[in-house]
């Protein structure tokens, strides 16, 4: 076996492992946030494994599709899921290198996620149901603003390290130690808002309701049932975990393993879980303290994050 081939095989192996790992953890995160939110409101909240139960239930159910739906409708959830899974292989999680980082950096990541979003939005349009169309138009409106902000925020971090490769970014931060610059804080604040927007959290969207006037993400899913719905829900959960991991990678890489030794990996796992947990708490608190914005206000919120990200980039040069 040639070394190139073995390297490639190893990378794919790691990628598969990481994808499975994130797929396994994602429902847990979703339930965790739900539970903490419930606790903050003095409710009992779901058990920690509820996310898995839900997915299992959906996967067992029969699929019902509209007679007017075309192949686009069928492809939507699959592409969305596939995009989320491929994106997991582009982000370093426990080891300071993404499994497939040779394939590309930040740009590929954003592009992959955008592909998933596109697939879901077109699929929602396909059935011709008014809610689906409304949901996808709203989702695209927000995405049009959120994506540039996301890119800008990522570029700011990339600028400091001189690379757009997420693994290299984390490695350079680990190597040189974390030195704070105000632009880090600004970029973090900007990206945090983007994460809230992209994952449909409270100031932007409310994941807990199906109120037709306000819903965004949920509106696109109304026509789906059974395993199709499970795929979308699962992929959304993975996306959320992925975004939080991204924040961890960019701003607090301390504790990441630099090699695949078991002890280092274990430490990295604890550190990663801790950091994601802290971010989850932050998300929960933001969700509980704020009320959902009116839809017309959402672009304003996203424009704040765009402004912060742009400022972060500017301050680097001042």
């Amino acid at each position: 076996m040639t070394p190139v081939l073995s390297d490639a095989l190893r990378a794919f192996g790691l990628a598969a492992l990481q994808a499975v790992f994130l797929l396994a953890m994602a429902p847990l995160l979703k339930t965790l946030i739900k539970m903490m939110k419930a606790r903050l409101q003095n409710r009992q909240g779901p058990p920690l494994l509820q996310g898995y139960y839900d997915l299992a239930k959906l996967l067992r159910k029969e699929t019902v599709r509209s007679e007017t739906a075309s192949w686009v409708f069928v492809a939507g959830p699959r592409v969305y899921f596939a995009a989320a899974v491929s994106a997991t292989t582009l982000v370093p999680v426990l080891i300071s290198a993404a499994p497939l980082e040779a394939a590309g950096g930040v740009l590929l990541l954003v592009g992959t996620l955008a592909l998933g979003r596109f697939a879901l939005a077109t699929a929602a349009l396909d059935t011709g149901s008014p809610f689906g169309g409304m949901g996808s138009s709203r989702d695209m409106t927000i995405a049009a603003l959120a994506e540039p902000a996301l890119m800008l925020g990522l570029f700011t971090s990339g600028l400091a390290a001189g690379t757009l490769n997420l693994g290299a970014l984390a490695r350079s931060a680990l190597q040189h130690g974390v030195t704070f610059h105000p632009s880090d804080v600004l970029a973090f604040a900007g990206l945090f808002i983007i994460v809230l927007a992209e994952t449909g959290r409270v100031p932007v969207d409310n994941p807990a309701t199906h109120l037709e006037l306000t819903m965004i993400h949920e509106a696109m899913l109304l026509e789906y049932s059974g395993p199709d719905l499970a795929l979308v829900e699962w992929a959304s959960a993975v996306k959320e975990l992925l975004y939080l991991t991204l924040l961890v990678d960019l701003f607090m890489p301390v504790g990441m393993a630099t090699s695949a030794e078991p002890v280092a990996l274990l430490m990295a796992l604890v550190a990663w879980a801790g950091k994601v947990f802290v971010l989850a708490i932050a998300v929960t608190i933001t969700e509980s303290m704020n009320a959902k914005l009116r839809l017309f206000r959402v672009p304003e919120l996203v424009s704040i994050s765009l402004g912060l990200a742009f400022l972060a980039l500017t301050i680097r040069f001042l």
């Binding site: 105000p182 600004l186 304003e300 001042l318």
Partner: protein, 216 residues
């Protein structure tokens, strides 16, 4: 994390809260953000007090946190509760344009800060840069906001900026002066609060753009 990092973290946090105030339309959230900003200012003062062993700065930190992040926000919130006004801010400029303007102001503030001694790079540079940016942003808020309470908040933002310069740049203002200034600030806010109350009683609104009888 070193104290240097902590300083930068807090200063940048103050700037972020300034931007969020600009982009925010809910009065209560704005007040909470101001409280957060003051808390960060207090932490900056306390950090400098520890690292440079300037113990009189603990007093400054204490006063700042007690007054500006607890007492004044509480007072303003009570004021809003009591006069029961419409709780959204209506700025003259929309949010994206305001943010763009503030971005420019930050650049100006940062450029000016490079003229200070030992300012290029390092925590001091960022402290002054953030302070001057916040000063300009506060002034911008003052001219673009209609509600009396938001004007008070803008004024307090400017004052926070001045305090940030005071703790970040000077080798320590005399304590007597510092106490006098702190006292004056709280009295000024009380007087402003009294005025707001009287304006609301009279005009049934806190919208200061209605105060436009006097011209020429």
């Amino acid at each position: 994390m070193t104290s240097h990092d902590l300083l930068i973290l807090c200063a940048a946090g103050m700037l972020v809260s300034g931007y969020l105030i600009v982009g925010q339309k809910r009065l209560f959230t704005t007040i909470r953000l101001f409280a957060l900003q003051s808390l960060l200012l207090g932490i900056v003062a306390a950090t400098i007090a520890v690292t440079q062993s300037r113990h009189e700065l603990f007093v400054t930190a204490g006063i700042t946190i007690a007054m500006k992040s607890i007492l004044i926000p509480w007072f303003l919130m009570r004021l809003i509760d009591r006069i029961g006004i419409h709780r959204e801010i209506e700025p003259f400029l929309n949010v994206p344009v305001s943010l763009l303007v503030c971005l420019g102001l930050t650049v100006v503030g940062y450029r000016v800060s490079t003229g200070f001694p030992e300012a290029v790079g390092g925590a001091r540079h960022h402290l002054i840069g953030v302070a001057l940016s916040m000063l300009l942003i506060g002034m911008f808020l003052m001219v673009t906001r209609k509600k009396a309470i938001t004007q008070i908040l803008a004024l307090l933002t400017v004052e926070n900026a001045v305090f940030l310069v005071a703790v970040g740049v000077t080798p320590g203002m005399p304590l007597v002066v510092e106490l006098g200034i702190a006292f004056d600030v709280i009295v000024a806010v009380l007087v402003l609060g009294i005025m707001v109350q009287r304006i609301v009683d009279r005009f049934d609104s806190m919208d200061v753009s209605r105060l436009s009888q006097l011209k020429g």
